[in-house]
Subunit: 503 residues, 2 copies
């Protein structure tokens, strides 16, 4: 190899040693496993919400990357000293904020394996197993949810794993938009109308804006406490009729099963009928609550699903699959593929030419993709349907228990009916009025103070929402490590802080 051989030695002695050497990988991998196992072992010793101030890390970090390699032990020590204090511990059993993202050993292992193989499975040939396993697990999970056969590959539909519900919503919006504009002409993009409620997740309006739709044409139907913050089918129909009268084109309806604010459940059966009548693309966003429907007793929340176009849930929200893993099913994937397919020369291959394989690049925004199916497959196999149902039921039971604790303390009230494993509650006006006799603003202020005081203690972490002007504490119980004793202890902390605040 002459001079190239010399170059090789010069370069490789410095570079390839340890970079992906199997034995060094083994040594460092075991170190990291022990680091993480110890982390889980000690997870309750950290303040749940990080207590650092903005800019804390820049002050203690070098201004530039190091010129010379550093030992993994040094890096891990920095993780311990510099990174962990800035982590909000989402896997802590005392994390009750947003919607949690419960991890599991099986989900972690599946992700490790995907990372180890590191195959970007954009089309079938780039790693057939990645595509085919995704087809299979999407059918498995579809069956667990009793989805109509038309949503499964085995029934002419199909599913895909995306990063998040935001991506699922954007992709289906684009598919719906293009389907309608193929009929009406591209120039009518400004006439398309998207329907949702004021409780629909913000990613719908963000997605519609990304897709170039006019914000003037977003119909956000107002909800109210009197109807449990459900999207009202009659109001939807009135909005549609008014839009049609004004020469607009009704396009897309997002129905939510378990809203982010309060886990409200839109009336899917009636809404899907309205959608069908006016030829809307109906998408069901069940990001958090969808997973519950693997239990027969909760499956009724999906009644009416046979009339919709697409359905998504985040397996990373309540199905023990690590971030990120959004499951999207479609009755007619061809609409999606028409909008999102590309086929440049450098990707042409025999398998794709035959059109007998799925090329998932045409089912998502990105070209490249991680082998997400592995973690879902690991979770489904390691725990099985029975244990996964048990996981859901356990969290439902804990939420019911917490709801009971709130109800027994007259200073508090549950604000909306509980459907799933989240309780929305607050210090009730009566408790505040009895102290200083002020109005709803003061009640909100007390609840805001209570939340901040509890979160500031580091003992647990909750977040809030606002419903019809009412500041509400959300208490979702989803964590993998959360047990009744954590719920019980959390309630005691809440009561203690309320004691001080209301004194």
């Amino acid at each position: 190899m002459g001079s190239h051989g010399t170059l090789s030695q010069e370069f490789f002695s410095r570079v390839s040693k340890n970079t992906l050497d199997a034995e060094e990988f083994r040594r460092q991998g075991h170190l990291m496993i022990d680091f993480l196992a110890d982390y889980y072992h000690n997870i309750e010793t950290f303040p749940v919400r990080s207590q650092v101030s903005p800019g804390y890390l820049r002050e203690i970090m070098p201004k530039s990357a190091p010129y010379n390699p550093e030992q993994i032990e040094t890096v891990l020590e920095d993780v311990r000293r510099k990174i962990l204090p800035g982590i909000t511990h989402w896997q802590s059993p005392n994390f009750f904020a947003y919607f949690p993202v419960p991890a599991s050993t099986a989900g972690f292992l599946g992700e490790m394996l995907a990372t180890g193989l590191n195959v970007p499975s954009f089309n079938w040939i780039s790693s057939p197993a990645a595509t085919e396993l995704e087809n299979i697990v999407m059918d498995w999970l579809g069956k667990m949810l009793q989805l109509p056969k038309s949503f499964l590959f085995s029934g002419g539909g199909g599913g895909v794993l995306q990063a998040s519900s935001s991506e699922a919503i954007l992709c289906t919006l684009v598919a719906a938009r293009d389907k309608t504009l193929r009929q009406h002409g591209m120039e009518n993009i400004g006439r398309l109308v998207v329907y949702c409620s004021d409780q629909t997740h913000s990613s719908l309006l963000k997605g519609a804006k990304i897709a170039g739709m006019n914000p003037k044409n977003f119909r956000t139907i107002k909800t109210s406490k009197s109807s449990n913050f459900q999207l009202c089918p009659t109001q939807l129909e009135l909005a549609i009729l008014s839009d049609v009268e004004n020469g607009l084109i009704p396009l897309y309806l997002c129905v939510t099963i378990g809203t982010t604010s309060s886990t409200a459940v839109d009336p899917l059966e009636t809404l899907s009928e309205v959608g069908k009548m006016y030829k809307l693309w109906v998408h069901v966003d069940a990001a958090y609550a969808g997973s519950a429907c693997i239990c027969p007793e909760f499956r009724h929340f999906l009644d009416g699903i046979e009339n919709v176009n697409s359905f998504s849930l985040n397996a990373h929200k309540w199905l023990l699959t690590t971030l990120d893993c959004c499951c999207l099913w479609l009755k007619d994937p061809s609409d999606l593929i028409k909008s999102l397919s590309t086929y440049p020369d450098y990707l042409k291959n025999h398998a794709s030419d035959t059109r007998k394989v799925v090329d998932y690049k045409d089912w998502q925004i990105m070209l490249t993709r991680r082998f997400r199916a592995l973690k879902l497959w690991f979770v489904l196999r390691s725990y099985g349907v029975d244990k996964l149902r048990g996981f859901i039921r356990g969290r439902m039971a804990m939420a019911k228990y917490f709801e009971g604790l709130v109800a027994m303390d007259k200073r508090f009230e549950v604000v909306v009916p509980r459907h799933f494993s989240m309780v929305c509650f607050r210090v009730s006006p009566s408790a505040v009025v009895c102290c200083d006799g002020n109005g709803e603003n003061d009640v909100n202020e007390i609840n805001r103070k209570l939340l901040e005081s509890v979160n500031g203690s580091g003992k647990l972490y909750m977040s809030h929402t606002v419903l019809e002007g009412v500041y509400v504490i959300r208490f979702p119980i989803v964590g993998t490590l959360t047990d009744f004793r954590h719920v019980s202890a959390a309630w005691k902390v809440l009561q203690n802080h309320a004691d001080s605040l209301l004194a």
Copy 2:
């Protein structure tokens, strides 16, 4: 706890045991590390491109998820027997297809840690360390690339880690679109024009379609071999002038440093001047080649970058960071934030209210996000600037070596000049003509057969492109485990298969 206590025991005995138990996590984690270390140890024993047929997996998999839990050992045995045969081994040292995605131990460890912590860092408060570390590593890498200060947080700009260049392109397109439409009005979306060359990655046109722009307004400037498939500034300017004359609004120019087909380099300095003159948003897509610019001797490829709006590269393509990790820098992130920000009640928090923190949800399509900064930080620290430069230089040297091998065999020709670590070559017409006297189609057919025959052998895997009707074999040398001996062996395989085909 009364009856809830009973429920707890009933549920938790079945569910939580082992699901995220620290000791079981440790046991299974170590198993997986050994599985992967053994995989890397044996990686050269697998056929590089999977040799399975479509549908192979469905035939050997159950139709439904198991009802009862299965042991991790059983699942791993199925990975060995059922999944690995369907994997195309992107980490094999004999993988020379598409653009490879070279993994490293440090990248893997960073991803493991991110998965173990499992924090969705959509805003600062959800995990301050995740946001701040991302700010820091984007400045570190920006400095390594000698980006103008205006692209760094420390200089008023900033960087973000996204999933892929497709996302970076879509996000910047939307930011550019909205910035222009704020001036011209939403109804003019149909007048916006996007410019690129016929060598630009397909994700640009896909992104523009997703963003609701009219496909009639995509100007794909033709390139040719005579100018090494560069986008011609004069032709660009003529296209812009013609569009302006026709009442259209020039919006966005994508300049590529290292195209996917042939690693062509668009003349950034001149193009960015044209972009400036006509007030285009100029984005530089250096998905693969950008990483090379951490070496001073290759930094000149970015000359002119000071005039553009945004710049992206995929650290998962040539910087030892596992999938997925696209680095996007912007001079003025406020345009992006205006387009992509959302702030629903359930995400409101004091830190965001102060506007003194970065909330990365407003810098990307998705709300949720993985803690990608960890793996980039692990890579930068574990290898340091010097070793990373050595990694780039080693691959450049191997490509130069391979180019020499091709040049020494008169039956082959290098098709375009080599800029980076990819050689584009083919069996030359003279070698084919001497055999059967036919035209260019036959030359293409011989090259297609050569590629398929080599890939079918499982000994190495390459892919192709088509340049001005010429079928070209692409040979990128990027793999972490690839050494001169693999390049040398690959060339011998190629020569042997050519011997048979040309006989």
